[in-house]
Symmetry: C2
Subunit: 298 residues, 2 copies
């Protein structure tokens, strides 16, 4: 199968690597508006050849759009305007309402699968592309009822070949959920880096930073080109998430200010529940069958 990968960075490059390895893709056309990134991707074997967007979208069976979400909004209508009627288009952006919105009335809307593979690292560019980035992680597919069955089936087959279970939800549900589970942790990490850099001497941070600090600020290394547009497009839900977070933060500070050691301990015990959730020991928690069905069936 012939793939066009628009954007040869961390996500596009990693997808290309795995889709070639699994033989899902036999021919990969790379497109990148940065000529240096394009040449690097070619040298790294991410793409078989580099082409213009215009040519790539006409030749490919699947077009993967793996660029920052503001650029997806600008390019997606052009891509749907220029593909043959048989081509599948898949974007991998972290936000979905605005992206789905710009092609709402397009005659080839059914060819487009809005998706969000929930995997990544704090690095960017073709050199950051790695194998097995997606294996076992969830991919969200949005508004599947607006996709033509053949295109949906091909996108599902592609994500399954990357080892990704698929969750189905609306663009609105995905943006709300991602605001809390992905965008908020990025925001808190950027802010933690700024708060500590504002107070502490850089040499002290460098010397004293333990694994705990490094883990908590890791996401603060993420690129502004990718993250500013995500925060921007999802700002209503991210502001909601930030408000909830600040409320819990104030509660934590009050427990210290009010010398309420019982409340402080309770807040820590409550937070500890994340261990059971993340480490898969979900047995003691109430299973919400309705939610499971919503996520795993269509």
């Amino acid at each position: 199968m012939k793939l066009a990968v628009i954007g040869l960075g961390l996500i596009g490059g990693s997808m290309a690597k795995d889709l070639r390895r699994t033989r899902f893709a036999t021919d990969i056309i790379g497109v990148d508006d940065n000529p240096e990134s394009a040449q690097l991707a070619l040298r790294l074997g991410i793409a078989d050849r580099i082409s213009s967007l215009e040519i790539a979208v006409k030749e490919a069976d699947i077009v993967i759009v793996a660029i920052p979400v503001d650029k997806i909004v600008r390019l997606l209508p052009y891509i749907l305007d220029h593909i043959p009627a048989s081509t599948t288009v898949i974007d991998v952006g972290s936000t979905k309402r605005e992206i789905a919105g710009v092609v709402k009335g397009h005659t080839l809307r059914g060819n487009f699968i809005p998706s969000h593979p929930m995997a990544g690292t704090e690095n960017s560019g073709p050199a950051a592309a790695v194998e097995n980035l997606f294996d076992g992680k969830i991919c969200i597919i949005c508004d599947h009822d607006k996709c033509r069955p053949q295109h949906l089936a091909l996108a599902e087959k592609m994500y399954q070949s990357l080892g990704m279970p698929i969750a189905y939800m609306t663009s609105d549900e995905q943006d709300h959920t991602s605001a809390f589970i992905s965008h908020l942790p990025h925001a808190t990490s950027f802010v933690l880096a700024n708060a500590v850099l504002a107070i502490e001497d850089r040499n002290i941070i460098f010397d004293l930073a333990s694994g705990g600090f490094q883990s908590t600020v890791r996401l603060a290394k993420s690129s502004p080109e990718m993250w500013a547009p995500i925060f921007w497009q999802n700002r209503d839900y991210i502001c909601e998430a930030l408000e909830v977070y600040i409320h819990h933060l104030e509660e934590f500070k009050e427990s210290l200010n009010n010398s309420d050691d019982k409340q402080l301990s309770e807040l820590i015990v409550s937070a500890n529940k994340i261990r059971g959730v993340l480490d898969g020991d979900n047995s003691s928690l109430t299973k919400n069958e309705e939610t499971i069905i919503k996520f795993y069936t269509k």
Copy 2:
């Protein structure tokens, strides 16, 4: 050398393992107020034998106090009351002002080395003890001018055998710096877990949590027995750190609310500087020679 390790958990257990491996310790007496932990530590080879606190502090050349900081405050005067005049006592708590304060006027104050090895994980108990936890990490020694030279030298030799460079500062400096670099990241992580658990269904978190979320909430798995007393003893500086953090968080939220995309990008670019600081590319930053001297010389 004969070591008494009071508290056979993550830190005490990991120190015992490495100090035996490097042959710094030839005989390790374990003390733990939890009989199950004591027996587990014995089975895991962390301690050679289990003893009461009373006997252990009389027999050892060095007493390592590796228990939660509230218990250090309660036990430390007893320990100094009962050691022979030749014994060195080292605590490894994350706070220092209150701990140093309780033995301020003690006749054997000079035998006590207040220290904070800046290493750990989110796990606890003897089973969490691992080898090489400390190698290459910094150990803070506080108020070294109040320690007798022989005891200070032995503590330094012990930490050097663990592979730890030593930084010297006052208890007050250590508590302020740790508030920002260690305690604040723990607080933000506990609060992030609580905020997300309050809104999102546990199954959704379990399914959708990517590496980014897991990294940012990792510290939220840390135990309340260890962390509530740390927050408590250092609450003035932690409240200061939380206020600085909330200020930066409000600034971030305002940039979204005010549609100020220039400010938003600047906040991300500013946070990205943590990459240079953490990854050791400190070359572009102004070196503050005074600080380096303060930290590495006595």
